[in-house]
Subunit: 408 residues, 2 copies
């Protein structure tokens, strides 16, 4: 049969990163690819206990349907935590999500008609492009540097796209660059959003994984007109297999997003919400977060130190203060995808994510995202060192070829 | 601020049933409204055990991300179960869903452009209309009787709507009517789908809750061209709070639905998938299903018997062989919503779902959906008896008024 797909399916294609995650699953490969948290850090015993209690003490409720916006007690607990982070909110501003990813889908559905413009960082989170694409937006890519999105460039982009509806940003330890948006820029972002009458989608799943420096206030905490939607997640601070995240928005927007949530999948798992709520009541999640941050900091330091010691000087990289990623930039014509397929994978048995797919418009081939979260100290050193050796010889050969060409 | 919503939000509105479920939550009300399973039937100890094992024996995997189509082992187990029900399939035809509801959302996204026609039973499942609406379809309503969708009427409807893309049906113990589609009609449905080149969405969350009579083969088992998508669910046979369902489709369609699933929420809860997979490996779910079917049959018999004994003769009702619902029809001008607000709730403290919202086009006011699943034997008798008393006096008054009018 010849299926007559909806028009939006032209924008729904398998992603390179997904294929790559499959390669990374080969146990002989040292993968710096997936943005997974370190599974050895999950609080196993505590989770076992709270799931047991949720079923044995309250199973009739925790295995049954509940309200589609999410368990009221959990929404209350999240609101209290977010208040401590500077965001004034109550449970009526919270929608529990099937991971932060669902927030991207619901916000796009709520706002984006075909052809509407979304302004994103350049590069930006690939999963957001995947979530937005079925709504068939146009993208406007905004320059960024070590302080995050460039506000002069954003202003230009917004002036050039008067119909733009949404600014999408990952302001804390961005995926893929690891960069954090400076406070002054956050303030200016709010001014621009107010002036151009836009919604800001602040996607911050790594926010609490800060292992050095001082937290920068959430953009949502600076929101003066209810136009920022904040997305948070339990995936990195607890465990992604629970599939729980949340949105914080004005009551009007929370209600609309809640209707879309109901339409999409009725509600999140009552059991998982009950268990996480019990976890938050029984244990101090901040103690847990502090301990996982120590590990991530050690791994980050180790990876950057090993890169410094073994990679050619032409390769630059970002220095994140939190999150799971560093972003490497190579000489202009160096194709990281080709290098991975031809050299890194077969010769060094190392995988990473080539950077091209993170660019919404013009793909730059000379970057790569490296995650230091899932490998051990030993495999970080081993993988980065082998890769450094390969890169050194490969970039020297390229240089020599260039010299040969210019001298003839 | 003035939010510029996407056009599709005009179709996304709060539903009457949702408001009603709130009323039904009042413990003083005997609610026959919600389509919830009986929470006392959940297999608490077994679920407690499998969750414990999933975390303690395999927590690094079961709390981590997994492939977005769902845990391979669980897909295999579902494929084996569905094969026994006559559907030839392998794990490559299975997509794990956040409850059956998510299948409705994903299938609509895959197929429906604004204005495309979906043919549905009349009445049909309200949750499906809610899921389809963001894609802005037009509906074509197909007559039904005690043998399900009327195939002569479907043929007429399809001939009148040459662009139609999808036939949506709940063939087993339909929500809201409790009616099951006869085998001959299922065969003719396939013929019509082949002739008019359409996709059939067979939504069958109640299929395994059959407590009398012989199962009718799934429409998917009669599919000759890979054009049927079957939706199943663990919500009624295990527990809805787990939020797990599945789609069965051709490999091509499974792949497309999988891409939409990835975009929408990455994946279902790895933990819940692992625990249910362990449950299926450790226990005989068919023994469990047989035991819950006994309870539902007893409750159904009790409700229908009490209706027969206490409701006025003008009220007719369907006699389901499974599932959770019976569908009541009242004299033409009797408004069940108004009666509920003015009499049933305040005077009898009884709730049900007025039928109007289940009609995609022309709403008929004189029906109601009654669920016998969540009330006890005692409250079924008590609620139906009080309601019967109210109805008897109310319909007599209406009759007298009518006689008064016609005699003057």
């Amino acid at each position: 049969m010849n299926v007559r797909f909806a028009g939006r399916m032209d924008k729904v294609k398998p992603s390179a990163i997904r294929e790559l995650l499959r390669l990374g699953a080969d146990p002989r490969i040292i993968s710096f690819g997936g943005g997974y948290p370190d599974a050895s850090l999950f609080p196993f015993e505590q989770l076992e206990e709270v799931f047991q209690t949720a079923i044995s003490a309250n199973g009739r409720d925790s295995l049954q349907y509940t309200v589609s916006n999410g368990l009221p007690r959990l929404r209350q607990q999240i609101a209290q935590r977010m208040e401590r982070d500077g965001i004034a909110c109550s449970q009526d501003n919270i929608l529990i999500l099937q991971g932060g990813q669902q927030g991207l889908d619901l916000v796009a559905k709520m706002l984006i008609d075909k052809g509407d413009v979304i302004a994103t960082e350049n590069p930006t989170f690939l999963g957001a492009l995947i979530a937005f694409n079925p709504c068939e937006p146009r993208y406007a890519a905004v320059r960024m540097d070590d302080d995050g999105m460039d506000m002069d460039d954003l202003e230009l982009v917004l002036a050039r796209n008067p119909g733009a509806k949404l600014i999408y940003t990952v302001p804390d330890f961005q995926n893929p660059t690891g960069v954090t948006m400076a406070l002054e820029r956050r303030k200016r972002l709010i001014e621009l959003a107010n002036r151009f009458d836009l919604i800001v989608l602040e996607d911050s799943p790594y926010r609490e994984i800060r292992y050095q420096g001082t937290p920068v206030p959430p953009i949502k905490s600076l929101d003066t007109e209810g136009r920022v939607i904040f997305l948070g997640s339990f995936s990195k601070i607890l465990a992604p297999g629970l599939r729980l995240g949340w949105a914080i928005a004005s009551e009007e927007l929370t209600q609309q997003l809640g209707l879309l949530k109901l339409a999409a999948d009725t509600q999140c798992s009552t059991l998982n919400m009950s268990a996480v709520s019990l976890y938050l009541d029984t244990y101090d999640i901040d103690v847990h977060i502090a301990s996982i941050c120590q590990t991530y900091r050690r791994k980050k330091d180790l990876m950057l130190e090993t890169i410094r010691g073994s990679f050619p000087q032409e390769v630059s990289f970002t220095e994140p203060s939190g999150g799971l990623f560093t972003w490497l930039s190579f000489p202009r014509n160096f194709d990281t995808a080709r290098f991975m397929a031809e050299h890194a994978l077969p010769e060094a048995k190392v995988a990473y994510v080539p950077g091209a797919t993170f660019f919404p418009l013009e793909q730059e081939v000379n970057h790569a995202r490296f995650s230091y979260s899932t490998q051990t100290d030993e495999t970080i050193v081993q993988g980065i060192t082998s890769l450094g050796r390969l890169l050194t010889s490969s970039l020297r050969t390229a240089e020599r070829r260039f010299e040969d060409r210019t001298s003839t």
